[in-house]
Structures are given as structure tokens and as C-alpha cells.
């Protein structure tokens, strides 16, 4: 498995990266950790004549927590996220989810930016970002703009990002209440058969807010407003949880693959979501 040849760029700043993108359009791709893109290039399923390595670009890594706002630079790795004590305290769902991505070596390289930007429906971070109602910062020739994670994904590998833009950071408000990231997979290193991100708050035995997003159950991550709404105002009794699960099932659209047929994936999605809700509720 040998990739086709390409021109390699390692700019020191964002301007340098953007200028290559501007010059070569969709013939150019940015490279973060590379563990999605490089295998595709090796299999010659992705042709990238111009490859822009972002590792030296200033200001793209790091986790900052200011007040309630968490900002994670695009080049921050899953390994960094797992080991950041303050982040683990402010948004423990980030650590819980990151530990379920790929394997240790891949997590040293895999970045938040790469995971959210490439639009692979198998990636875990996009659903998680939607659950957190995160905002993505994109920088292009026209300057910087922000897009809600919930508006970012259009189809498999198709996002709101323009070819000449770079996703530089994700940011979100530190969640309060209970959280859970549940993922069923065949083995370590696999994408999800079904995964659910759940955040909810509890006041006096009543659920006051809920956010639910599902991974690898459609060609994009699925944030199910209806599922969350079904929980709010309830005590998370069986009927409420069932209503939330049913609502989620109305929003997902899985396809058959080696992980199983559609009926199974729908069943697994329901089970995983139920478990995530229960787990999050217990932590709320």
C-alpha cells in the first residue's frame, strides 16, 4: 500500500496554509494526525496532489478553559484530551469519548480538528460536538467564521467547510449535569456499530435539559432534538426513556455494513442510547 506522490507543505502559520489551499483548491488537503487521510491515500482512494501539514502552524493546539468556555485547538490530540486534568473535570465526556476512539497509538496522533473536519460518519467527535452544541471556527481567505457543529455536516465527507478553509478550533460551554458516551464496537480500533452521546441536567428529580447525539447511524452525526425533548420535564421514567429512544430512531438512517444489517443497528442504537441515558442520569 503505497500512496501516490504529492507536493508537501509545512507552513509555519495559517496564512501560509491558506495560500496553498487558495492556489490549489480541492487538489489540496490539510493534514492533521493523518490517521484517516493517510490510509485512504495508501489505498489510493484519496488523491491529494498537494498536502499541507499543519503541525508547525502556530496556535492550533492547546486546550483553554476560560470561565465556562472551553476552546480546543484543532491540532490537539485525543491523547492530550485524555490527559488534560482540567478538561477532564470541566467536560468529562470529552475524556470518556476520547478513550473509546481507535487505539493508544492512533490517539497520540489523532486530532480533534481532523476528527471533526473530515466528515467521516464513523468518527466519534462530530456527534459529541453536536451533543455539546459546539461551535467550529473556520478560517479562510475571507477571514474567520463560526459554524455550529449541528449545522456543519451535510453528508458523508461533505461539510459546510469550503475547500479553501481550515478548521482551527472547536469551542463549547462546559456542560453541567450528567454525561455519558456509550459506544458499541466489534473491537478496539473499530468504528461504532452504534454510539450515543448524552448530556442531561437534573433538578429535584426532574430532567431540565437533555442533549442527545448519535454516531455512525446515518451519513452524518445525528443530533436528535426530539429525543432530548422527550426527556425534558420528566423524571426519566420508562415511558420518557422509551419516547426518547423512539424519537432518536425516527432521526437515524443507518446502512448495512460488516457490523450488521439495518435492523440490528437500529436495535443496537436503541440499547446504547438507553444505557447512555441511564448512565448520564445516574451521574446527574
Amino acid at each position: 500500500m503505497i500512496p501516490a506522490a504529492f507536493e508537501y507543505y509545512r507552513p509555519k502559520d495559517l496564512e501560509g496554509a491558506l495560500s496553498v489551499l487558495e492556489e490549489h483548491g480541492d487538489d489540496a488537503r490539510v493534514l492533521a494526525g493523518g490517521h484517516s487521510l493517510i490510509p485512504m491515500m495508501k489505498l489510493r482512494m484519496a488523491e491529494v496532489p498537494h498536502l499541507i501539514d499543519l503541525q508547525d502552524v502556530d496556535g492550533l493546539s492547546g486546550i483553554s478553559i476560560e470561565g465556562n468556555t472551553i476552546r480546543i485547538g484543532a491540532m490537539t490530540t485525543q491523547h492530550d484530551i485524555i490527559n488534560d486534568v482540567q478538561l477532564a473535570s470541566a467536560a468529562p465526556i470529552m475524556r470518556e469519548a476520547s478513550l473509546q476512539i481507535a487505539d493508544p497509538q492512533v490517539r497520540y496522533m489523532g486530532t480533534v480538528g481532523g476528527n471533526v473536519a473530515n466528515g467521516d460518519p464513523g468518527n466519534d467527535m462530530p456527534g459529541l460536538m453536536q451533543c455539546l452544541d459546539a461551535t467550529f471556527t473556520l478560517v479562510g481567505p475571507e477571514g474567520e467564521r463560526e459554524v455550529a457543529a449541528r449545522d456543519f455536516y451535510e453528508a458523508a465527507y461533505m461539510t459546510d467547510r469550503e475547500d479553501d478553509e481550515i478548521l482551527t478550533a472547536v469551542s463549547f460551554e462546559a456542560p453541567s449535569g450528567g454525561y455519558a458516551y456509550e459506544k458499541q464496537k466489534r473491537k478496539i480500533g473499530d468504528y461504532a456499530t452504534a454510539a450515543a452521546a448524552v448530556l442531561l441536567t437534573k433538578e429535584g428529580g426532574t430532567c431540565t435539559a437533555a442533549s442527545i447525539a448519535m454516531t455512525n447511524l446515518s451519513d452524518t452525526p445525528v443530533h436528535s432534538d426530539a429525543a432530548g425533548a422527550a426527556l425534558v420535564g420528566t423524571s426519566l421514567d420508562d415511558a420518557a426513556v422509551k419516547a426518547a429512544v423512539d424519537a432518536m430512531l425516527g432521526d437515524i438512517d443507518p446502512t448495512q455494513d460488516n457490523r450488521g444489517p439495518i435492523e440490528f443497528k437500529r436495535h443496537a442504537a436503541a440499547v446504547i442510547l438507553r444505557r447512555a441515558i441511564e448512565n448520564a442520569w445516574a451521574r446527574a
Binding site: M1, I2, A4, A5, L43, R44, D103, Q184, R186, K187, I188, G189, D190, Y191, T193, N258, R259, G260, P261, E263, F264, H267, A268, V271, I272
Partner: protein, 808 residues
């Protein structure tokens, strides 16, 4: 002088049989100093890479290599047209069929070799592969062997006779153009009569899905033709280097003495590296053409898609019994999917391997087995993946049929086994399907296993779990997997076992050096089994020199004696026996030397651990070290100097290792996720040479069994596309998915093997697969399940539960 050592101390100092000797191989492997094929880099070496078919069945309309040849650094692009004048566009398979080296007019499976690009480095070769333009005309695809036998689509026109007639194949008459052979063993009429008269007959279709050995190192070679001396050196991932040398000689016309085949360190084999592949032939041709070395190493996708699948057996079975549970007969018809070419690696007279061991550990008076081999549009292969020839299929079949019969009889499956085991006093036992089991003590092993796991306690816990499940208290079921397997390994006696006419003996040659150290060379080749460690232990015990003073060398056909290689658990049963026998020849000569030195008659000295002593006067002795030196410096009248021996061992029989396994598994009915709570493995491999290595083999074999049973498959879609071509989808478990295993043993030596050893490398796989599968099936027995096919991955378990109505 130091205090005289006791006999025990002298024995311990040898590091002989039975001790947990640390492996001598490990120093280089732990320091990254192994020498595997892809580590070899010769001056001027070129790299080969294949253009492969994206289609499973298609005619080749044209191949245009112009653009590839124009690329700087591309030396050649070989096609069938280039190989045809040499007669090398097809090659013989181990199964008596022939296989295209490069597509000759058509392709029969996805990934088939179409053209071979030779370039200065692997990057250029990969670029050139992309530039070779091949025009295909798609043909109808057959992926189901049953449908293939009904289809008008002829896959192998090359095997058709005049006017649409179907000439016989290598194994007799063929009844359809896509039919390869029918192989029958046992008594058909008598078995059907027994079935007709039985109290109870259980019938089931047991499918053992297609999978792949997938060693961590893929297949590859470096061919180096020295045109000055006319010598071809071929380094490669060969489990049978000597056989490869003979095959290369036969098909290339190069005289065998001018071919040197070297198997360097091999990164796991598990059957994948037994066969001869187009990559080897193309590399040899390319080196002959270019006059420089050519390396070919397949990538993982090529490995999974093209070299040596395993299994793919549809086994329809009937088992009959009295109402008390005494088995009266076994009937099996197997439809074997061999893919586009019959490239199974089996002894010539056994086109379905030793599938006729399918009566297992049971005293079954009457039996019949028929196997039909079928061509389909899948990759060729049919190798024995960590088992002797088709023995895993056989063990899986009988161990599933026993469970199905237990359900039919409403009996406990452990008890059903117990009342049908061949009894200790029945050995040597003649099976209804023609084998003579050498030794066994199944009841003892079984009782020990059941006691170790508290079988009755487990059943009680399981019954409670079922109640809890029905009461809605849990969504997890508990499965108890039982297996008592009997293998047939150590092929084998030359009278009935050969490959391409080469008898399946094996060999050992020993040279004792003057100072009392030694080198022994064998016809086998280790792929992780630790031969350099264990064969030295056999010799240490046999010749009384320390294992640490004995070098074991394998895999170089210029130096090692001829042997058929390592697969089918044959190293210890055959080459291990040759080692002991060669050692005994050394000892016989040593005895004469010792007697001469001690000035007594030969019969008046006897071997004692590391020396010969004068009978009745143990203070008079000569150590083996002293004898070794004497062999080189004292002329003994009538005896040649030196101390060397060679043995070619033709075993009188196979060996029959057995074992009793129990798996306890929890199954999440909603997600299909399995959790192996406990796995107990009792193995009886006869005499135990190195308990540490045996335990390691058991751990590894069980893990490969876990993989196969719980998810590992080569799956095709209807168009013949491989759906599981990378390690994302082809299941190899990580440390996270694998449990700790409990190992145990009994020792029932083989009566015909010089040291009583039977072989163990494959037992855990042969026994492990049915044990894991039985656990899954058993979990659902209380809800009416008879049988569900492997692999038991999450969605299939979910489907089983769903069909049983367990999802409300």
C-alpha cells in the same frame, strides 16, 4: 575437584525434556534482530508488484502496459503472454489441479494476479501498477457452491473435454463442470440403514465459514538468479522450504542442486505459508529475466484476498443414537467451496484432508462421509489454518452434532459425551472411517475438566440465570461451551501421505563437535513454535549433552536434510521423532567408543543421563563430552572417526492428541456482545517437551479460535467482492478482547512415537473453535435453539436472539 553431582543435578544441567527452558530465539527477536524476508536487501534488488483483477469473473480483453513501461524506473511488466513460452503461465497446485500464475484470458476471483510489474523500488512499482490498463468483460459470478453445481456458467473451460464432456479430475470423476471431486469414506448403505432403524436421529447443516490464517507477516520472497554460476537462491516465507525447492525445480527446469531455498525467520504461518503462490513464480521469472534479485512482498489486502483461505465447508450431518444416548451412526455430506482453482494443501490421497476424523472422540460403530469439492469465483486455497488437514472442520462438525443430539435426546451434553467416549482399553482404536487412534484416556481428562470448573455448579447457575432472564431480572444469558476433541496430526506415514509424490517423512542430521557441543539440522521450519529451543531439549535428553550446547538449524535447503516442513502439527510427531532417532544413533556409536575407552565390552556399559557407565561400577564412566572428543582423536579399530548421524523418520502412524475444554460465556442478548468469563483448557499431547512453550501454544491457539468463532471471516458480496480485506473488518482480537486462560493437562504418551510426544500447536485451535461456538449455542438452548452458524459476531447473535423472540 567439585563435589560429584547427583543424577538429578546432572539431568537438570542438561536442560532436557520436560523443563521450562527459556527460548534461545528470544534474544534476537526482542532486540529487533530477527531476519524476516522483508528485511533482506540484496545489491541491485528490484521490486515486484501485481496488477490484480477488480472483478471476480471476467474475460481479459486487453492489457496495455505502455504507460507503465514508460515510467522511469520500471524494468518490466510481465503478463501471461510473456510466461507462456516458458510454460509458466500456469502452475501445478498441491491438490493436483493447476492455477494461473498470471491471468490467461480470464480471471476467476477478485484480486487474481493479472500482470507483474518489476521496478527499481516499491514506490515506482506501485505507481506503475496504477498505469497498467486492463480491459475486462464481466462474466456472471458464482459465489455459492450449491448454486455453482446447478449453474450453466462454466468457470474452468480449461478443464472441459470435447463436445462439453467433463474429463476426470485428479481425484476421479466430476459430475458437473464446476465440480472438482467426490471423496467418499465409510459405509454408505450400512450407515443409512442404521439411521433408518435408530431411536433418534439428529440432523443439522453445520457451516464452517471461510476465514484466513492471517499471520502478522504476509507472504513474500526474494528470488536471486546468479547467472554466472547458474544458481537460483530463493528466500521466502515457506513453511515447507524443501518442497518449494522441488516444485521450483520441476516447473522451472532448473536442476534442484542449483536451487537454494531459504526460509529465514517467519512471522507466523498458521497454514498461510504452505502453498506456492504466483508471486513466487513471477519473482523467480523476473530474476531470471533481469539477472538481479527481485523481491515480492504482498500487502495485507493481497494476503487476505488471494493467498490461502481456510475452511468454507458446508457440512450436512446426521447422527443416530439409542434413546439412552448411545451413538449408533454418523453420516456427513460436505460441500466444499474451493474457489477458482483447487489449491488445497492436503496429502495427495486426501482431497478433503483428514475430514474422516469426524467421528471425533466417540466410539461410533458405523459412519459415512462424502465430500464434494466445488469451483466458485473466490480465491483458491483451502489450507489448514492452525490445524492438521481439515481437522478443525471435522472437530467442529462432530462437536456441534453431539450438542444437537443432546438437544434431541434432552440430555446433558457432558453426559452424552461421557457415555460415548472411546474407552481407554479400546486403544489402539479402529475408527469407522479408517483411522487407528494410537492412545487416549478421554474419561480421565473429561472428569478432571468438569471437576475443575465445577460443572454442576455452572449448570445450576445457568438454570438460575434462565429463570432470572424469564423474570426480567437480567438481559444476559450464560453459555457453557463444552468440547472434547481428538486430533489427527503428524502427517505422516509415507504409505498413505505424500504431497506431489513426496513422502511426508521428516529428518534430522546431527553433528557432534569434538568439544562436546553439537549442531542439528532438520527438515522442518519454525514460525514461532520455538524449535531451536525444544528440539535441543529432545537431543539433550537423548545424547546427554546440554541443550545450551546444541544449535538447531532449519530452513536452508543447502544444509538441512530433506523434510516436508512445518504445518499440521507435524514437527514434533515427525521431525521430533527423527531427532530422537538420530540421537539414538549417536548414542549407539558413543556406547562403542565408551566401551573401548573403558576397556569393557559394549554390552557392559549403559547410558546414564550424560555418560556411559560400566554396569555395576558407576564410578567408572566416560561422559558424552569425553566421548565426543575421543571420536575425533582416538582411532578406534573398526569404527570411523567422527560422531554424526542422520535419521529420516517415516512414522508408523499419525498421533492423536486430545483435550477437554470448557468455556463460560455471558451474552448480552440485546447487543450480541459476548464476554468470556472463563476458559479452561486441558490438553493431552502425550509426552511434554517444554511446558512453558506448550502453554504459550495453547494461549495462542485459543485466541485464534476465539477470533474465528466470534467474528473472523472472509466475506464476499454477490458480485464476488471481498468485504473483509483489511484489519478493520477482518477480526483479529486485541489484548482487550482476549481473556486469561486456565491451562491443564493429562499425559497419555503415543505408544509408537520414540519419545511419546503427540504435538500440541494446533490442539487449542481445533478444540477452541467448537468450544466457543458451543458456548454461544448453549446460551440459547433453553429457548429452543438447536444450531446457529459462526461467526458469532454481535449482529448474528442478536439475530439469533431475535428469531427466538427474546427481544420482546
Amino acid at each position: 575437584m567439585n563435589k560429584e553431582l547427583t543424577r538429578e543435578e546432572r539431568a537438570d544441567a542438561l536442560g532436557g525434556m520436560g523443563c521450562k527452558r527459556k527460548r534461545v530465539e528470544d534474544a534476537r527477536f526482542t532486540q529487533g534482530k530477527g531476519n524476516y524476508v522483508d528485511d533482506i536487501k540484496l545489491p541491485g534488488m528490484l521490486h515486484g508488484d501485481f496488477v490484480r483483477s477488480p472483478y471476480a469473473h471476467a474475460r481479459i480483453v486487453s492489457i496495455n502496459a505502455e504507460a507503465a513501461l514508460a515510467l522511469d524506473g520500471v524494468i518490466a511488466v510481465l503478463t501471461a503472454e510473456d510466461l507462456a513460452p516458458l510454460g509458466l503461465h500456469w502452475m501445478p497446485t498441491l491438490a493436483g489441479d493447476k492455477q494461473m500464475v498470471l491471468a490467461d484470458g480470464k480471471v476467476l476471483f477478485q484480486g487474481q494476479e493479472v500482470a507483474f510489474v518489476v521496478a527499481k523500488d516499491r514506490y515506482i512499482a506501485a505507481d506503475a501498477v496504477e498505469l497498467v490498463e486492463v480491459e475486462y468483460e464481466e462474466l456472471p459470478v458464482l459465489t455459492d457452491p450449491h448454486a455453482a453445481l446447478e449453474s450453466d456458467v462454466v468457470l474452468r473451460e480449461d478443464l472441459m473435454g470435447e463436445g462439453g464432456s467433463i474429463p476426470d479430475g485428479a481425484h476421479g470423476p466430476r459430475k458437473h463442470p464446476n465440480h472438482i471431486f467426490t471423496w467418499e469414506v465409510g459405509e454408505k448403505d450400512a450407515t443409512e440403514q442404521v439411521m433408518g432403524e435408530a431411536d433418534v436421529v439428529a440432523e443439522e447443516m453445520v457451516y464452517y465459514h471461510r476465514t484466513h490464517p492471517c499471520p502478522l507477516e504476509t507472504c513474500g520472497c526474494v528470488a536471486s538468479m546468479d547467472k554466472v554460476n547458474g544458481k537460483l537462491t530463493l528466500h521466502g516465507t515457506f513453511q515447507a522450504p524443501h518442497a518449494i525447492r522441488t516444485v521450483v525445480s520441476l516447473i522451472s527446469g532448473i536442476e534442484e542442486h542449483n536451487i537454494r531455498v531459504i526460509s529465514p525467520d517467519i512471522g507466523g504461518g498458521f497454514g498461510n505459508k504452505v502453498g506456492a503462490y504466483p508471486g513466487y513464480v513471477c519473482s523467480v521469472v523476473a530474476s531470471i529475466v533481469t539477472g538481479v534479485p527481485v523481491k515480492w512482498v504482498e500487502d495485507r489486502m493481497e494476503n487476505l484476498m488471494t493467498t490461502a483461505f481456510a475452511r468454507d465447508y458446508w457440512m450436512r450431518g446426521k447422527i443416530s443414537a439409542t434413546k439412552e444416548g448411545k451413538i449408533t451412526g454418523l453420516w456427513c455430506h460436505t460441500t466444499a467451496d474451493h474457489g477458482g482453482f483447487d489449491a488445497c494443501a492436503d496429502p495427495t490421497k486426501f482431497p478433503a484432508g483428514f475430514m474422516n476424523i469426524c467421528t471425533g472422540s466417540y466410539d461410533i460403530p458405523t459412519a459415512y462421509l462424502a465430500v464434494d469439492g466445488v469451483y466458485t469465483n473466490k480465491a483458491p486455497g483451502g489450507v489448514s489454518y492452525r490445524c492438521s488437514f481439515r481437522v478443525t472442520e471435522a472437530a467442529y462438525f462432530i462437536e456441534r452434532m453431539i450438542e444437537v443430539l443432546a438437544i434431541e435426546l434432552n440430555m446433558d451434553a457432558a453426559e452424552l459425551r461421557r457415555i460415548n467416549f472411546i474407552k481407554k482399553e479400546q486403544f489402539p482404536y479402529q475408527s469407522a472411517l479408517g483411522w487407528e487412534y494410537d492412545s487416549g484416556d478421554y474419561h480421565t481428562a473429561w472428569d478432571k475438566a468438569l471437576k475443575a470448573v465445577d460443572y454442576e455448579g455452572l449448570r445450576a447457575e445457568q438454570a438460575q440465570r434462565v429463570e432470572d432472564f424469564k423474570a426480567g431480572k437480567t438481559r444476559k444469558l450464560m453459555g457453557i461451551g463444552l468440547t472434547h476433541f481428538t486430533e489427527i496430526v503428524g502427517a505422516g506415514p509415507v504409505k498413505n501421505c505424500d504431497i506431489l509424490g513426496l513422502g511426508m517423512f521428516d529428518s534430522c542430521e546431527i553433528r557432534i563437535h569434538p568439544t562436546g557441543s553439537a549442531i542439528a539440522r532438520l527438515g522442518t521450519i519454525s514460525q514461532g513454535q520455538g524449535h531451536a529451543t525444544t528440539f535441543a531439549q529432545i537431543l539433550a535428553t537423548e545424547i546427554g549433552l546440554p541443550a545450551d550446547s546444541i544449535t538447531i538449524e532449519e530452513g536452508d535447503t543447502d544444509t538441512a536434510p530433506y523434510g516436508l516442513g512445518t504445518y499440521g502439527s507435524r514437527s514434533t510427531p515427525v521431525a521430533g521423532a527423527a531427532t530422537a532417532m538420530a540421537g539414538r544413533k549417536i548414542r549407539a556409536k558413543a556406547q562403542m567408543i565408551a566401551a573401548y575407552l573403558l576397556e569393557v565390552h559394549d554390552d557392559d556399559v549403559e547410558f546414564d543421563v550424560d555418560r556411559f557407565v560400566v554396569k555395576g561400577a558407576p564410578e567408572k564412566f566416560k561422559t558424552m563430552k569425553e566421548i565426543a572428543f575421543a571420536a575425533y582423536n582416538q582411532a578406534i579399530p573398526g569404527i570411523e572417526p567422527g560422531l554424526e548421524a542422520v535419521s529420516y523418520y517415516d512414522p508408523p502412524n499419525m498421533t492423536y492428541p486430545f483435550g477437554a475444554y470448557v468455556c463460560v460465556m455471558d451474552i448480552d442478548v440485546d447487543t450480541g456482545v459476548t464476554d468470556i468469563r472463563r476458559f479452561y483448557a486441558l490438553d493431552d499431547c502425550g509426552t511434554r517437551i517444554n511446558p512453558m512453550i506448550i502453554e504459550g501454544q495453547v494461549h495462542g491457539g485459543l485466541t485464534e479460535a476465539l477470533a474465528v468463532a466470534l467474528g473472523q471471516e472472509i466475506a464476499y458480496d454477490e458480485m464476488g467482492n471481498v468485504k473483509t480485506g483489511t484489519l478493520m473488518d477482518f477480526f483479529l482480537p486485541t489484548a482487550w478482547e482476549v481473556p486469561n486462560y486456565e491451562t491443564d493437562h493429562t499425559v497419555t504418551p503415543s505408544p509408537h512415537h520414540p519419545i511419546g510426544a503427540k504435538g500440541v500447536g494446533e490442539s487449542p485451535h481445533v478444540g477452541g473453535v467448537p468450544c466457543f461456538s458451543n458456548a454461544v449455542n448453549d446460551a440459547f438452548r433453553a429457548f429452543g435453539l438447536r444450531h446457529t452458524h459462526m461467526p458469532h459476531d454481535h449482529w448474528r447473535i442478536w439475530k439469533t436472539a431475535n428469531e427466538l423472540g427474546l427481544h420482546g
